[in-house]
């Protein structure tokens, strides 16, 4: 209760009273002319003594010394002292009351009164504790040193040092001081204030050369806000050092730069003009190249040139063996006189074959026989081919019977011995030997030596005499058809239905095949039926003066004792095969397409 009462009284007193003194800087020392007698301030410099000042104010009659007196009272938690008068009125200074060390107590509340004793009026009151009114003296010994200067010489940093005020007992720890530095350009109004520091030095950065700066410092007690006065200013000035060295490297750099650029330009110009240099710096990229072939020709050359060019390349040369074989055949045929004598058509054949072979050679030199499908310009004209073959018609441009290997070409050609005949049959089971031929020629005659006479579409009656001998023989043979494959049944039907005439409209003749077991080879069976037609000419058959146009295929009629084929398109087909009704054709074993092996031949021939 008493506590709260005292508090409220205190509050009221402050609200109503005139003695509201706030310790704010130098305003304390300016007396208010409109007021009556009042305290202008109380201050302590070192927390050991303090002073109070007052002013008479408007009351001019109280300006005499002694008219106004100061009384003070100390209060702490325990007790309140009596009012005592100012222990020392300073003689030298007007209206000042000085409290020395004896009378100064910290952590204790003081109240001072300004009274006029005769009237017993208290004009002003001021309560405080000493540590709250401490305003330390300014620091002393302010000086500065240059820390460093920038490269350009325009800016510099300094270190400012000072000493604490001698009145403040910092060593003992009685007072702990914090310092604040401020600076400005001389003769300007704006001060730059730096932060509080606890030490006695401070760095200032970024000052401009050729300018004068004012620097000063002040201090305060730690954790208090009562600053002392600023110290005296010091002038800081750093003259700009005209560094010639800074310009020196710049000029050098410029000179070297210009020289370098010029050298580069000269090099460029020279390199443009001299290709050697260009080659050194920029070697050309090698273009793809084939040995011996000019790439320009490939772009612009004509086809035959290209052909000759390519043909000269090793990779395109065919196997020489085949060519030699072919040449051998040709040579043999040419040299053998018997054939020349006997075969009126031999020359024809040879010439034909020669021409054909030569043509073939040409073609062979280009590529293997697969070119029939690939090299269209190189394939001999179908018309040309047709001219080679007698009565050939209806050929397609590509003959599927063209074999892949050129070695089989001579097989169909001139053959001298039966062995020769056989070998092609043996060696190429998959493909009929004479299929490799690009063209076909009708075999019109057999020479005694066993050669086959090919005629360009004409038939002689000479084979007739052969047929007499082989009336009894029935042959089964197979021919590869032209792509229109039929099964054996169909072949039978066909042969039954269609008279076995070498009709030009048919590219082949088909005969019913008998006892071809299980052979689903898609080929035409040119078979001489057992009981039915035997496709051979009867000796009494009149020679056909005008042979029908040569078909695509030539039918092998018989195989004579010499194991040579008789190829003759039988004109009177229906009767042909009726001669040997009783003869039963031996069962044809499963054969590879289109070939008769010697074993089979042995079976067939009686």
């Amino acid at each position: 209760m008493a506590y709260s009462l005292s508090l409220s009284l205190l509050y009221l007193g402050f609200l109503c009273g005139n003695g509201l003194v706030s310790a704010r800087g130098s305003e304390l020392f300016v007396p208010d002319p409109n007021r009556g007698p009042h305290f202008t301030g109380c201050r302590s410099r070192e927390q050991e003594t303090f002073r109070c000042w007052w002013s008479a104010g408007t009351f001019q009659n109280l300006t005499e010394p002694g008219a106004l007196r100061v009384f003070y009272q100390t209060k702490n938690a325990l007790s309140t002292s009596e009012w005592q008068e100012c222990p020392d009125y300073t003689r030298t200074v007007e209206n000042e009351c000085y409290f020395n060390k004896t009378f100064t107590h910290i952590w204790i509340s003081y109240c001072v009164h300004l009274r006029s004793v005769p009237q017993n009026i208290t004009y002003d009151e001021n309560c405080f504790t000493v540590e709250n009114i401490v305003h330390p003296d300014p620091p002393i010994g302010l000086n500065w040193t240059l820390l460093n200067a920038s490269r350009s010489g325009l800016h510099f940093d300094i270190l400012v040092r000072w000493a604490p005020p001698p009145s403040a007992d910092v060593q003992m720890g009685w007072m702990k001081l914090m310092y604040q530095v401020q600076y400005r350009v001389r003769n300007t109004s704006q001060w730059e204030m730096l932060d509080l520091v606890s030490g006695t030095e401070q760095s200032i950065y970024g000052l401009l050369s050729d300018k004068e700066y004012e620097v000063c410092v002040r201090c305060t007690m730690s954790a208090f806000k009562n600053f002392g006065e600023f110290s005296d200013s010091i002038i800081v000035h750093v003259a700009q050092i005209p560094s010639k060295e800074s310009t020196f490297p710049m000029t050098l750099v410029l000179i070297f730069g210009v020289i370098g650029v010029m050298i580069l330009l000269v090099l460029l110009i020279f390199s443009q003009q001299q290709s050697r240099l260009m080659v050194i710096f920029l070697p050309p990229i090698p273009a793809p190249k084939i040995k011996g072939i000019d790439p320009e020709l490939l772009k612009n050359g004509k086809l035959d040139q290209l052909n000759s060019l390519l043909s000269s390349q090793d990779i395109f040369k065919p196997d020489f063996n085949h060519e030699d074989l072919w040449v051998e055949f040709i040579q043999l045929d040419i040299d053998d006189p018997a054939e020349k004598i006997d075969g009126s058509d031999t020359q024809h054949l040879l010439g034909l074959s020669r021409s054909g072979s030569s043509r073939v050679l040409n073609f062979k030199s280009d590529d293997d026989s697969g070119r029939a499908s690939c090299y269209d310009p190189e394939i001999p004209d179908p018309e040309d081919m047709a001219s080679l073959l007698p009565g050939h018609s209806g050929w397609g441009e590509q003959h599927p019977l063209v074999s892949r290997s050129s070695s089989s070409i001579p097989d169909l050609g001139v053959q001298q011995t039966s062995e020769v005949v056989e070998t092609p049959v043996q060696t190429q089971p998959a493909v009929p030997s004479w299929v490799n031929m690009d063209f076909y020629a009708q075999v019109s005659d057999f020479t005694p030596a066993g050669g086959v006479v090919l005629s360009p579409g004409q038939l002689n009656g000479s084979p007739e005499k052969k047929k007499e001998e082989e009336n009894e023989k029935k042959i089964q043979f197979q021919l590869l058809s032209d792509g229109a494959y039929t099964s054996e049944n169909t072949a039978r039907q066909l042969s039954a239905d269609v008279p076995p005439s070498p009709g030009p409209e048919q590219g082949y003749q088909s005969f019913p095949s008998v006892a071809v077991e299980g052979n689903l080879w898609n080929g035409e069976y040119l078979v001489c039926a057992s009981d039915s037609q035997t496709p051979y000419l009867l000796p009494e058959a009149p020679p056909v003066p005008i042979l029908p146009p040569v078909s695509d295929y030539t039918v092998v009629q018989e195989v004579d004792a010499q194991h040579s084929f008789l190829l003759n398109p039988p004109s009177s087909q229906p009767t042909v095969c009726s001669h040997s009704p009783n003869k039963h054709l031996p069962a044809m074993p499963t054969m590879p397409m289109g070939y008769l092996t010697p074993d089979l031949l042995g079976n067939l021939t009686p």
Binding site: L7, L78, K176
Partner: protein, 235 residues
């Protein structure tokens, strides 16, 4: 029967004495495993420096708390109360020197004991202050945090001073903080925004600031004496 009673009473006294001892016992060091080990020793100078640092920090934070409270709750005309320095602070059991000359005259023992008593006297009021400050509606967090921090630091300061006393004065401490009587009025349920409670709390803060200053000053003087007695006394 009587013997048993006497024995019991004696045992009680002994246990009380022991508990008293343990109440103000210095720190026990614990290593990582948690078992009590011998504390690593620290020199007296270093310990005194650390104690002084503690006191300085406490003083600075208390001043900041006072300013915060003043800005927030105290009406402007009453700022001068600060200059008064809280003459309503609770009293101490023995007179504390108030002037420099007086302080220079007292012994080291008195200095340390004064510091200890000061520290111990503020334990309870600070905890009370924490609770009251929490009741303010818009008390800034900084103020609350500072108060808490100060309380914790005060505890460690007490422990440091106890060790110092033991080392410098070679005597053990038996006093406890319950010796000091507090004149603080208990919380009477008033709303904290009333001027009276505001002023009361403000007074508390001011008083604490003053006492913190005292602690710092005493400890610094003690340090000065440790280094050079002549210099400190001659001023």
């Amino acid at each position: 029967m009587n013997r048993v009673k006497v024995l019991q009473v004696w045992l009680c006294f002994v246990s009380l004495w022991l508990s008293r001892v343990s109440h103000a016992a210095p720190l026990d060091c614990k290593d990582e495993t948690g078992s009590l080990t011998h504390c690593t020793s620290i020199s007296q100078e270093k310990l005194l420096d650390r104690v002084i640092q503690h006191a300085e920090l406490i003083y600075r934070v208390s001043e900041e708390s006072c300013t915060l409270f003043e800005e927030m709750f105290v009406p402007y005309p009453l700022y001068t109360l600060r200059n008064q320095g809280g003459n309503m602070c609770h009293s101490k059991p023995f007179p504390i020197p108030s002037s420099k000359s007086e302080i220079q005259q007292i012994s080291d023992k008195w200095l340390l004991h004064s510091v200890l008593i000061l520290v111990q006297s503020w334990m309870e009021p600070l905890s009370y202050l924490q609770t009251t400050l929490d009741r303010y509606d818009d008390a800034p967090d900084a103020l609350l945090n500072k108060t808490k921090w100060v309380y914790e630091k005060l505890l460690s300061l007490e422990q440091g001073v106890v060790v110092l006393i033991r080392k410098m004065l070679d005597e053990g401490m038996l006093s406890s903080s319950s010796v000091i009587e507090h004149t603080l009025a208990p919380y009477d349920g008033q709303s904290p925004e009333v001027l009276e409670s505001v002023l009361r709390d403000y007074n508390l803060l001011t008083c604490f600031k003053k006492d913190a200053h005292k602690m710092e000053t005493f400890l610094k003087l003690l340090k000065c004496r440790q280094s050079s007695k002549l210099r400190c006394l001659s001023h």
